[in-house]
Symmetry: C2
Subunit: 661 residues, 2 copies
């Protein structure tokens, strides 16, 4: 995107550096360049200041809202609205005084002819400068590659915009990591089957349905039909399908919504972000292959794209999980916990390197970081010192808060200031309609299918709530703003921005209302919930949660994993009991001894629980419970009487996220 202020920012600050000294030689050009660079640096600081100011404003308003217990507008909604207001002020309140000067150039005629098929990385421009005494002197300036220009008259506007890649490389990773790190794993794993179905299958279906529908719509509108290909609309489907975890979840947190619904909504929206980013990448790869094979190998390209999707997703997952486990091993086998600052630094660095490793291997950093976060929470967190637990939790909570509000402010501001919007009422209308339909196609049929195999069914009011929780957010916007070269892409960006803004403000604001319409239990403690759930289930209206009383295929899978996790992964990666000495076969004794720490051996089970914080308690109890129901699995199923469950799961657990907010 040629219009990214950040790119300019770097060019600018570099320029300052170069010219600060050079200006000592006192030539007119240098001083002017210096002035110009300083001006640009200042504008740039102002630009960042604008967003900082917006965030401060948002924070103060959120506080007022929370203080007065107003719930009709959520913080992300607020950030968007402030963004819109400020964006409008910038757009219409100021005239653009600093214009960018372009110069068309051609290769030097006497130079060796350039015959590569790729444009050069840098251009060197010899620039004649008139000196005071009437002579001229040639200077050489370097220019670096920015991108292709499609419309020569498209003025590059620097107002309050950033390089879209900033979202992918700086804003999204902490948000996604925090999502993984703060996942309530107990309920997540309990509803894993449903979550994976919604996220993996649902998002894919939704993308294809939206893609197909949009394509049909567009054929009806003549002026659009020419500029959109089916791949374009499919890409639109992929980018508009992921739902946003931020807004809805922080409302759920405030209201203490039923934990199973919470797990479904949160788990799905976190995972479908990951699915969408890989899916959209695969669609682009497909497009590339399809085109380069000049139309001959569509089926092959399709399978390649499918392979890409599976490969990228699973490898990214693998890298994330591995790095999480490596961190767990590092924190387990070194006594780095004696120095909490070092420990926290190690934790942050390992997590960040996960993102970088995935990106450097051409995989998807966001997906890797998500699963790294889950592993860090599941294993490493238990090894950390109390100080580091708190520090890492609070750090990522804060980063997440800032990043999330920044992105929503930016969505608001960019609606007015981003120069590449393309308002097409037909496309916008179709987009809204398809986004709603896509969400419905995701939720209802899959819930029906899930309920066939699932013993504690997903009741219809939960399904409605899942449908209504389908706000679009940061990921859709980030994917949309990444490519704005063609009219089609610009129309997509505009539509996506509008969908995000409206769903966040309207659906987000109406969430409390939805919850009461659909009779979703709110204000329940997790402890109370399990009890009330039992009571309610016997009344027949709710049938979620505590699903281990009867087994089905998915529960079996989850149990096998749970069993493996309790017996091998946790003993290996954390200080938890039982140790590998207990769980590994006798022949592996020496190995088990090496992999078991003194702390693990000597600690008392009770002391351990006292020592660890509630999240670990959750895990311990959870796995205790799971073990009691899993161990006799080979012979007897469904042997644990349902009556025992509430006792086992009656743990008061302050979750990781939103503890205070």
């Amino acid at each position: 995107m040629a219009d990214s202020a950040m790119t300019v920012r770097y060019a600018v600050v570099v320029t300052i550096g170069v010219f600060l000294l050079k200006s000592c030689s006192g030539e007119e050009t240098d001083i002017k360049l210096d002035k110009k660079a300083q001006l640009l640096h200042r504008l740039d600081s102002l630009n960042l200041l604008l967003y900082t100011f917006l965030l401060i404003l948002t924070v103060l308003t959120i506080w007022t809202f929370k203080h007065r217990r107003l719930r009709f507008l959520h913080e992300t909604g607020l950030a968007v609205i402030y963004g819109l207001i400020v964006g409008a002020i910038i757009r219409y309140g100021f005239t653009n005084s600093s214009t960018i000067v372009h110069m068309p150039v051609v290769p030097e005629p006497d130079g060796s002819h350039y015959n590569q098929s790729v444009p050069p990385d840098t251009l060197w421009l010899r620039f004649p400068e008139s000196k005071g005494d009437g002579t001229t002197k040639n200077k050489t300036f370097a220019y670096s590659f920015r991108g292709e220009i499609y419309k020569r008259d498209n003025e590059i506007d620097l107002k309050a915009t950033f390089d879209p890649e900033i979202f992918f490389n700086i804003i999204l990773p902490p948000i996604i990591f925090h999502a993984g790190y703060s996942l309530k794993r107990k309920y997540f794993f309990r509803n894993l089957g449903a979550i994976l179905t919604y996220a993996l299958i649902g998002t894919t279906i939704s993308s294809f349905v939206i893609g197909a529908l949009m394509y049909t719509f567009i054929q009806l509108i003549p002026h659009l039909a020419s500029s959109f290909t089916f791949l374009d609309t499919l890409y639109f489907g992929a980018l508009i399908s992921p739902t946003d975890p931020l807004t809805i979840i922080s409302i759920f947190n405030d209201l203490h919504v039923d934990v199973n619904l919470y797990a479904l909504v949160f788990g799905e929206s976190v995972l479908n972000d990951a699915v969408a980013i890989v899916l959209s990448g695969s669609i682009q790869n497909y497009a590339e292959r399809y085109q380069s094979g000049s139309g001959g190998f569509e089926t092959w390209a399709f399978f390649q794209a499918l392979g890409d999707f599976i490969r990228i997703f699973s490898l990214s997952l693998f890298i994330g999980a591995t790095m999480g486990c490596v961190t767990a091993l590092l924190t387990k086998f070194t006594r780095v916990r004696d120095f909490p600052l070092l420990e926290s630094a190690l934790f942050v660095l390992m997590s960040y390197s996960t993102f970088l490793i995935a990106e450097a291997s051409d995989l998807t950093g966001v997906v890797a970081v998500l699963f790294c976060g889950i592993c860090q929470a599941h294993y490493t967190y238990n090894n950390l010192s109390v100080d580091s637990r708190q520090r890492t939790k609070q750090l990522f909570e804060l980063l997440n808060f800032l990043a999330e509000n920044f992105i929503f402010s930016y969505i608001g501001v960019s609606m007015f200031t981003f120069p590449k919007h393309h308002f097409d009422p037909g496309f916008i209308f179709a987009g809204f309609f398809c986004a709603l339909l896509g969400r419905a196609v995701n939720v209802y049929p899959l819930s029906f299918l899930l309920n066939l195999g699932r013993n504690p069914k997903i009741p219809s009011n939960y399904q409605h709530m899942l449908f209504c929780a389908g706000l679009r957010g940061a990921m859709s916007f980030a994917l949309a703003i990444r490519n704005t070269v063609s009219d089609a892409r610009q129309a997509m960006l505009t539509t996506t921005s509008l969908i995000v803004i409206l769903t966040v403000i309207l659906q987000g604001g109406a969430t409390t209302q939805f919850l009461s319409w659909f009779n979703i239990p709110v204000g329940v403690d997790e402890e109370v919930e399990v009890l009330s759930y039992n009571g309610v289930r016997s009344g027949g209206s709710l049938s979620m949660g505590g699903s281990t009383s009867k087994t089905n295929e998915k529960a079996l899978l989850a149990r096998i994993w749970g069993n493996f996790d309790t017996h091998y992964m946790k003993p290996l990666l954390t200080h938890s009991r039982p140790t590998l000495l207990d769980t590994l076969p006798v022949c592996c004794g020496p190995l088990a001894r090496i992999l078991t720490t003194t702390q693990q051996m000597t600690q008392d089970n009770v002391a351990r629980r006292m020592d660890s914080d509630s999240d670990l308690c959750l895990e311990d109890r959870d796995t205790d419970r799971r073990r009691t129901s899993i161990q006799p699995l080979g012979t007897v199923t469904g042997e644990v009487s349902p009556g025992q469950q509430p006792l086992h799961t009656r743990v008061a657990l302050p979750g990781l996220i939103g503890r205070h907010l």
Copy 2:
């Protein structure tokens, strides 16, 4: 700097964005560009990964060192050494496979002639692309301004380097803010006179002495004499004068060195960073004015530069202090402390906006952020909720740790990979000699002068330690790498890098040894220190600290400020007692009532102390103590008997910094 990977990074990621879609049109150039962009993005991730890996390695090694109680090498020294090793591996282990392609260009002949004196911001290159069917199609690519090229043969090397401005805009601010935020204000204010003398006057003297000496040296070496002006050497003096707070302070922390020495070393090195950055800026401004006035107005330019120095320093200070106070007011008069996450976010945003406001007003963000940090610690910190106190402390501690180790790793790596080093043995030798001498000129004469007016004298062993604590660090390096256009600047960078590396490794490593040579009391708790100090002073060997027993001019100034602070600033900005109702004249009653919170009125003094953490206790007791010795100031001086002091200052206070490390 044309060779900054970050600039390229942004260009690259932008390119990816642009070409991901465009590649769908399947033309050969696009696909190649896409591939290239992906490759560059990958290299870029690898580059960051390298530093992340270095930091992880450093963290693990530091842990081992701390674990085994090895003190001969400090963490920053370690980071530098690892950096050097990895830098050497990169330099000699890999051959540069991806070369940058340059193309000399001239303005389009038929275009309107460009007759501004400033080179254009963007170049548009029409690039012929051969299509499959033998025809060619012209595409237009945009190139953005990077800087001037001095030697055409100077290959731009992208290996493991960053834009130098990154240091100023991303790495330094958290380090400097943390320094201000973690300042032990009690001892800082007690030694304020000495600290200001060393930092303001000392750094300036040192800069000029080094500048003059270097200039003399250079006249003796013929091949250097032509390329250095006196302003160049003066600039070198300014950039090599600031000492580094990081290494020495974390050693002092580990060893619990006497708090007054700690305050002197820390206070001086924090402030002289601020002084150096403004000083070097003023020298450049002077150079600019001097040159543009074509040699006629040197005196005038000198006074302008002096005015600049004072204006920039005091305005930056003012902005920083104001923003700190505004944050204090915000946290005092809103109940945002009920939502610690919001409160922490507000704190971070306000602090960051201080930096941006200063930068946007053409002042020095680093100085503003330093004083903002001091005010935040002095006022805002007391209003924060317990959660936010911890969170902000821990956050900045972590950021500081990461930033500081990153910069030292980078110093190491860049020694080998930064393409603009210029090794000149003469200059390097002169640089080392002058740096030592400059430090001596700063410490000894000023200590002598200070001791004339100062009742508790600075003993000679403390002076020696101050001399030996003069490591150079992040600020010198950041200032040196900012400008590397000429041979002179490149020689300065090389010399500065070497001085930083050697002082950090050798002086840093020998600090423990120095402390024992100079008989500096170590292993003292602050509580114990005050007692032992009293005992030692009666023995005549130490005469620091507790300087309020006799007054001198500087102490008077400090007392007036302390009095004002206790009576007006703290009651206004924090919840502390006495309230403004007690301290303001009766006529201001209504105003005072508005500015006094219920919390402030209702709280019990004892409960208040129980509630607040040790740092506030420090403040409370400190101001209590100060009040008792200040209030009778108008009539009787020196009335407080020295015997009472230890009782008053006997507070065990775990300081902010290095609490765990």
